[in-house]
Symmetry: C2
Subunit: 489 residues, 2 copies
Amino acid sequence: HAHQPNDVIRKIVLTIDTMNPTVKNVEYAVRGPIVQRAMQIEKELREGVKKPFTEVIKANIGDAHAMGQQPITFFRQVLALCSYPELLNENMFPEDAKNRARRILQACGGGSVGAYSASQGIDCVRQDVARYIERRDGGVPCDPDNVYLTTGASDGIVTMLKLLVCGEGASRTGVMISIPQYPLYSAALAELGAVQINYYLNEEKCWSMDLSELESSLAEARKHCNPKALCIINPGNPTGQVQSRQCIEDVIRFAAKERLFLMADEVYQDNVYAEGCQFHSFKKVLFELGPEYSDNVELASFHSTSKCYMGECGFRGGYMEVINMDAEVQAQLSKLVSVRLCPPVPGQALMDLVVNSPQPGEPSHITFMKERTATLSLLAEKAKLTEQILNTVPGITCNPVQGAMYSFPNISLPEKSIKEAKALGQAPDMFYCMKLLEETGICLVPGSGFGQKDGTYHFRMTILPPTDKLKILLAKVKEFHQKFTQQYS
Amino acid sequence: HAHQPNDVIRKIVLTIDTMNPTVKNVEYAVRGPIVQRAMQIEKELREGVKKPFTEVIKANIGDAHAMGQQPITFFRQVLALCSYPELLNENMFPEDAKNRARRILQACGGGSVGAYSASQGIDCVRQDVARYIERRDGGVPCDPDNVYLTTGASDGIVTMLKLLVCGEGASRTGVMISIPQYPLYSAALAELGAVQINYYLNEEKCWSMDLSELESSLAEARKHCNPKALCIINPGNPTGQVQSRQCIEDVIRFAAKERLFLMADEVYQDNVYAEGCQFHSFKKVLFELGPEYSDNVELASFHSTSKCYMGECGFRGGYMEVINMDAEVQAQLSKLVSVRLCPPVPGQALMDLVVNSPQPGEPSHITFMKERTATLSLLAEKAKLTEQILNTVPGITCNPVQGAMYSFPNISLPEKSIKEAKALGQAPDMFYCMKLLEETGICLVPGSGFGQKDGTYHFRMTILPPTDKLKILLAKVKEFHQKFTQQYS
């Protein structure tokens, strides 16, 4: 009896064999085995286990505050006022913070952020988002009814994919995603049982999009599924490129010609560092191409409170704007989001502050601009630093970090290390990153977690650690890479 | 050209015909057409349109703060401190609020609620939840590793269903839900394409669960699907019953015998009003039944910050505890939740305060208890009032509101009104509620949105409006029902 497998004795309902197999196919490297091991090592360090390092440096996830970035004072003042409106009677807060808080509270049921909001999001927040988009896009109109507040950008992306994906066999919906990609996309597609259609970014041309690559990838996919959507991340995650206006135009023409629904993940829209680079929203370019495009191409674009200069990941704020969406489908979208009642209201409030930040003449404007500029300048500096130092390492080649928060360098791995990794059933760059973690305490994510051309290896590292720590990190990576190369040569 | 249907001209990708059909099957009455009409009417009133009433009273959703319930002072103080830690230097906050805030902030990356937490939730919050569950259940042990913080209870419920649902045709997963039910369940099952297995609650016996009903419903379902799980809402939504210990015991024995995974939605665990009624958690009863059950029966139980005495819906806080879950499945669960990064951190903080509220001797204890007791007493009073007044109306029969926040009375509808509704393609109780809304401004949800025995009609109304408004509401419902009955007789 005692020797029987446990599940037989326990007559369990839900086992690895009876559970939903699509969930088993889901992978999410950004919080995968390497991060779990990093957390274990942190625990071991706390318990006094001796290691060749004294702390784990996590450069695996775009989590700015965890890396010491300070929140924007104005945002947090308004959030405190919204949480505890008694503070509106105190004279310690600037008037513009109080005004924002009053405006948000007035729009909440019973004047409380503890009430559910409308499922699409608080009306006045959606109006502010619409005005922000209009300003950003040089006056291209935005209808607040097309704005949906979300629980981070991830929520919006998954919701859109849910609407799109259906069919079986050769008519199963296919969705084109860049490789390398942010693994939310592959995870969501796996869960929905959609066909993931890879198109490769051109590493030689600074991770730009290649029209011929899009065309051949689509043609190939059409043989076995029904491609319906094309996802773009700009500025790029994990690859850090900023797409040129020309490239965006090409992509839109391609989507129009091939009848693809565009999904533009634009959460890094303020994170542009390289000279000569500029953020162009897909929506703006779409409208500049004229009514043939702006009246026809369907587009959903996504933004979030988690990145840019604010880095407020924990609040799970975000929005999406849908353009040219069929009215009946949009009614279905509104119904679908109502099942989850509403996005977190504090995150909605924060999204409002991002799109309605202090204006010149308001008491908080100078401090706000100082904080915003300081954060973005520091990021630009760290982007440069990361590229420069990594490119001094023989065997590491790193494209400029034009935007976003990541570097995705190409690493040459010795044949012997590749063999050893494969013998262990590990991806070679996972083997590399795991060794790096064990020997230096640095936590990066292997390129295999994002996808890459066969036979190439990469890692993703954030540029978020404080400058002094980033320098240590880069020096350690350099030293490790040289040692590793030697050891396996 | 101008006369062609729009979609043909626009060559649109995503139409009602090409979209995911399972999304089309989703229904969610709590925010359905009647609520949309109510919002329209509110807008009309603001614009000066004359109506036979001056305001819309929304009793359609369990949204306490929107109905004027005040937040718990201590909770909001701590949330303000967490949002803007500068306030820790002010002497306007009690020490226990500051201590809670410091403890939460220390557990956050970089000391900021703007950092992502672990995907399962902040460690110390999960520990506090575990201790709360142990206290609640008279010492039955709880492992924090089995606690997952969630984005409201809905998120946990959908996540569990995602793990469970698979298979095709006759081996498609079936999930048993009570009728009447909370429509999150039917919506989630529709979206996942699972088989919804209805078991009817016994209205004659105060909406209790009938073992014979469970048995026959299961036997019938086994002919065409693979029943895997049994969902229970206790205290009941929309039906307001509190299940007896005996009933819970019967359900657990049934689940054990029939190998069903139990899902216990216990978000109203503090909302028990009727004399002689008491909340028994499924977990506690499971453990009292001894190891034959407590070592075998799989259970997930759900809680939330949205109901009880706090009513903090907007923060989207919640947790689930899984018991006897297979280790490999649990690893899959942990992976699945990591894709969405983490539940909103302010909601996690709030969940922490709920399970770790001020203790005797702490400076905030007396105020906290006063506020908590006042809210719960008021709810008990309104539960009684609602039942009493509704039962004075000829043609309305109302079970006692033993717990939760809703009354679900049976309404007799004249044949003529049923015919007229059917001619309009409406459910008869939808027709009734829509007329009630247009004539009185009262917004209720028809029973058909929750499910009910064929030929019976109901509505769900919350007991949340302030007492004076609730009295007006009940008087208006009474008057309307009499008029309606007369009009269609």
